[in-house]
Symmetry: C2
Subunit: 482 residues, 2 copies
C-alpha cells in the first residue's frame, strides 16, 4: 500500500483515494432517532401545548445568535451535543401549538396529522410518479375527490396539493390564462392584449405576486383591458370577510370569465352545515384554493388547488413531458403519474396529512371543530363588546376578530387625529411586552388609514373560554399604563 494508489488498485483494496467503498458509513440510525424523539415528545409536544408554559422565549436576533452557535464547521459534533442543539432549537422556537398562540391563520397540534408528517419525512418521496409514491398518489386522489365533493362539483374535477396557498392561487391564474389562449404557453405574452385580473382590495397579496411573476404586472390586477379572471376571496386574511360568490358567479358566467375562489382560510366552513352558507355558490366556480393546514389544523403545509375542468387542463397547462420521469411505455396506467400537473418537479405528499386525520376523526368531528372555533369566535366577540376599552373594528363574519385596546389615558379623548396617533402606538408596545413575557401571541397591523389594531384568530380546539378571557385581561394588564 503506497501513497499513490491506482484506481484499479484502490477498488480492489476497497478504497478509492482514501474513501472506503465497502459497507455503510451511516451508523445504525434507530437509536439516535429514538433519543431525539424523546426530546421532541417532551419539548415540542408536551411542553409546547401546556398552557402553563410560555408561548415564546423571546430573544433578539443578536442574543439568539450568541446562544445558538450557528456557524457550520469542518468538524462534526457528538450525538449528545446534537441532541442538546435540538432541545435549544425547540426551546427558542415559538410554540404555535400553545393554546395562547393566535398570531397566524394556523395554530394547535393535530396529533394524527403530525404523525402523518413524521411518516412522510421518514418515507421521503416525491409525487411525480406512481412508481415512487403509490400510496400517497392514491391518497392525494382520494382527498382531492372528497374535497371536490365537499365543494359540490357534482361532475367531479381535478386538483393538486401545493406548497402553500400562494401557489394555489397562482395555479388558478395560470389555468385561467391558458384557457383564454393556450398559445401563450409557447409564445409568451408579446402578442397578447393587456390582461387583467379582478379581485377585491382585501384579497391576499399572492394575487399580486402571481401577476408579477407571470408577466402580467401587478398594475393589471384590479382594472384594465381584457379581463380573463376574477378572484373572489372566501375568508380574507385580515377581517375574515367573504365575497358574495353567488352574485359574482352570475356576472362571470354572463361574460365567460374564469372565477377562482381563494378559500385558503374560509374553505373550512364547507365542512359545517351551519356555516357553509358563507361560500354559497362555490359549486359554480372554476377553481378553488383551500388550505386544510389552517382551520382544519393539518400539519404545515397542506394546501389544495381544485379545478372543476375535466379535460386535463391542469396537465395541459403545466406539462413539460420530461422523458426521464413520464415514460409512456410503463407497465401501469400512467394517468397515475401526477407530476406533470405541477410547476414543481419534486412535490411532497401533503395530502396524507389530511387523509390520516380525516380517517381518524371523520367528517363529523371536523365539522364539530369548525363549529367550535366559530362559536369561540362569537364568544370572544361578545366579551370584547362587554369590556371597557375594547372596541371591534366591525362585526366578524368568521374567526378573525379585529379590535382596538384603548388604554384608560386615551378613553376620554374625542375621536380625531390626536386619539388615532396615540392609539396607533399602543398595539406595538403591547405586542413587544407580550412577546418578552411569552404569555401569548396575537398579531397587530394597520389597515388603510386605521391606526394599529389587534387581529386575533381562533382556530384550535385546544383553546378554552378561559384562554380567551385571559387574552383580554392580559392585553389590559400589559397596556393599561399606556
Amino acid at each position: 500500500f503506497s501513497g499513490e494508489t491506482s484506481y484499479e488498485g484502490s477498488v480492489k483494496s476497497g478504497k478509492d483515494g482514501g474513501v472506503f467503498l465497502n459497507g455503510a458509513t451511516v451508523d445504525p440510525v434507530e437509536g439516535f432517532i429514538r433519543q431525539a424523539m424523546e426530546v421532541i415528545l417532551d419539548e415540542a409536544v408536551r411542553k409546547a401545548t401546556d398552557v402553563n408554559e410560555k408561548v415564546c422565549e423571546w430573544r433578539s436576533p443578536e442574543q439568539l445568535k450568541e446562544l445558538l452557535d450557528l456557524e457550520l464547521k469542518d468538524e462534526g459534533e457528538s450525538e449528545s451535543k446534537i441532541l442538546q442543539r435540538c432541545r435549544e432549537a425547540i426551546r427558542y422556537s415559538v410554540k404555535t401549538s400553545h393554546p395562547r398562540f393566535f398570531n397566524q391563520l394556523f395554530a394547535g397540534l393535530e396529533p394524527y396529522s403530525t404523525v402523518a408528517s413524521f411518516i412522510i419525512e421518514s418515507i421521503k418521496t416525491s409525487l411525480y410518479t406512481y412508481e415512487v409514491a403509490p400510496v400517497f398518489t392514491l391518497m392525494e386522489n382520494a382527498v382531492l375527490r372528497k374535497m371536490i365533493e365537499t365543494i359540490g362539483w357534482e361532475e367531479g374535477g381535478d386538483g393538486i396539493f401545493n406548497p402553500g396557498g400562494s401557489m394555489s392561487n397562482m395555479y388558478a391564474m395560470n389555468l385561467a390564462r391558458y384557457r383564454y389562449c393556450p398559445d401563450w404557453k409557447e409564445v409568451g405574452l408579446y402578442s397578447a392584449p393587456r390582461l387583467v385580473v379582478f379581485t377585491s382590495q382585501e384579497s391576499h397579496y399572492s394575487i399580486s405576486k402571481a401577476a408579477a411573476l407571470m408577466g402580467l404586472g401587478t398594475k393589471n390586477v384590479y382594472m384594465g383591458a381584457v379581463p380573463f379572471m376574477v378572484n373572489a376571496t372566501a375568508g380574507t386574511t385580515v377581517f375574515g370577510a367573504f365575497d358574495p360568490i353567488e352574485e359574482i358567479a352570475s356576472v362571470c358566467e354572463k361574460h365567460n370569465l374564469w372565477l377562482h375562489v381563494d378559500a385558503c382560510w374560509g374553505g373550512a366552513a364547507l365542512m359545517s352545515k351551519k356555516h357553509k352558507h358563507l361560500l354559497k355558490g362555490i359549486h359554480r366556480v372554476h377553481s378553488v384554493s383551500w388550505n386544510p393546514h389552517k382551520m382544519l389544523m393539518a400539519s404545515l403545509q397542506c394546501s389544495a388547488f381544485l379545478v372543476r375542468d375535466k379535460t386535463s387542463l391542469l396537465q395541459r397547462c403545466h406539462s413539460a413531458r420530461a422523458s426521464y420521469l413520464f415514460q409512456q411505455d410503463k407497465f401501469y396506467d400512467v394517468s397515475y403519474d401526477t407530476g406533470d400537473k405541477s410547476v414543481q418537479c419534486s412535490r411532497k405528499p401533503d395530502a396524507f396529512k389530511l387523509w390520516l386525520m380525516w380517517k381518524a376523526l371523520g367528517s363529523r368531528e371536523l365539522e364539530q371543530r369548525v363549529d367550535r372555533a366559530l362559536a369561540m369566535a362569537r364568544y370572544l366577540t361578545q366579551e370584547i363588546k362587554k369590556r371597557d376599552g375594547f372596541q371591534l373594528l366591525m362585526e366578524p363574519e368568521f374567526a378573525n376578530m379585529c379590535f382596538w385596546y384603548i388604554p384608560p389615558s386615551l378613553r376620554k379623548l374625542p375621536e380625531g387625529p390626536e386619539l388615532w396617533t396615540k392609539l396607533h402606538a399602543v398595539a406595538p408596545v403591547i405586542k413587544e411586552r407580550m412577546m418578552k413575557t411569552g404569555s401569548m401571541m396575537i398579531g397587530y397591523q394597520t389597515h388603510g388609514d386605521k391606526p394599529n389594531f389587534f387581529r386575533m384568530v381562533v382556530i384550535s380546539p385546544q383553546v378554552s373560554r378561559q384562554d380567551l378571557d385571559f387574552v383580554l385581561e392580559e392585553i389590559h394588564h400589559l397596556g393599561q399604563d399606556l
Copy 2:
C-alpha cells in the same frame, strides 16, 4: 335547557349549538404519537433500510385501492385502526432509503436531517417573519451564508430556501428579468421586447415550465430576440453532465447577461476538494440553485436559491409588503423578516434539515460522502465495462451511469433499426420485473432517438460495492430471457 338556546344562554352553559366551549377537545396526544413513532422506527427506519427487505411491495393502482380503503367517511376510526393504517401506508410505499433504490436523484436516510424534519413538523411554523420563526430564520441565514462561502462569492450574497429546485430556477429567471427591467413587475410584458433564455438541450424541464408560467413562452427558451439570461447546468438530470461555467461566464460578462447555474444535482461537488473543479468558475455567476436533498441527503425538500446581488434584488423583485405580516414599527430589526423575498407566503424552514446534519457531520464528513458516492460511481462504471451485455452510453462525468443491458438473444444482431427496436423494449420489461420482485429500483428512459436505457444514480453512503454488483447481476437475471 331547551332545544332552542339563545347565544347568551349557550355560552353561559358552556355550549353553543351543541358545541362545548370549555376545555380542550384534543385528547392528550403524547401517547398516540409515541405509539406511532414505534411503528415508524420499526417499519420506516429499520426495515426500510434493511437490504434483506424489499425496496417496494408493488401493487397496481387497482389492487392498492382495494387494500387501502381510501374513502373518507363521516365517522372516525379508533387509534389502533389508525396505527394499522400507518403500517399499511409505510408497507406499500417505496423504500427510498433502501440501499438498492437508485431510481431518483435522492436516496438514503440521513438520521440528523430526518430528526430535523421531525422537529420542523412538530414545531410547525413558517418563515415569513422572525417573530414566528426566530431560530429557523437565523439557521436559514447561517446555512445560506455557508453555501455562499462554499460557492466562492467572497463579497457575500443573498438567498432563500424553496420547495424544490424548479422553484429555485424560476426565481433565477424572475430576478434576471427584474434586473433587466424592473418596470415589468408592475406593467407586465406587454411593452417588452421578445425575451429569450439560453440554455442547453440537456437542462432541466423546470426552465421551460418557468418560461411558460412567467409569460415568456416555452419557445423563447433556447433562441430569439433579446437574451436576458443564460442558464448553465451543473449536473444534468439524465447524464450528469456539466456545462463549462468558466467559458460561459466570460461570454455573459462580455454581454452583461445574467448567468444562472442550475446546480441542483451537481452542487454537492462543491463540498469536495477533489471534484469541485466540475463547477470551476461558479464564483463568477449571478445565481445558483442547489438542492442539498440530493447528494448531500438532506430530508425532502431542502432546496436553496442563492444570488450574488447584495442590493436586495430578491426582496425588491418579489415583495408585496403585506401589512399584516411586515409591519415596519416592530420592536426588532425587521430585516430578519424574510417572507417578502419569497413568492410564497407560508414557507417551511427547510434549511434546518441541512443545518443540523452539517453541525453533526461537519464539512469534512460531507466531503467524504460526496467523494464516496463518486468513487462508487467509478467502480460501477468499471464493472459495466467489464461485463458482457452491458454498454455505457458515454463515460460518466458525475454519479449518473447511463447504460444498456443487451440480452444474449440480441448480442449477435448488427447495429441498426432491428437491434434498436428490440433493445427499446428490454428496459421496460426489466423494470416491471424488478418492481414486481421488489429487489431494487432503477430508472429507464429514452433520449433523442436512443432506445430505452437505464439511468442509475449512486448517492447514499449506505450503498456498498456488493449492492452495485447485485444490481448488475439482477438486471442480467431479470432480462437474460428477453
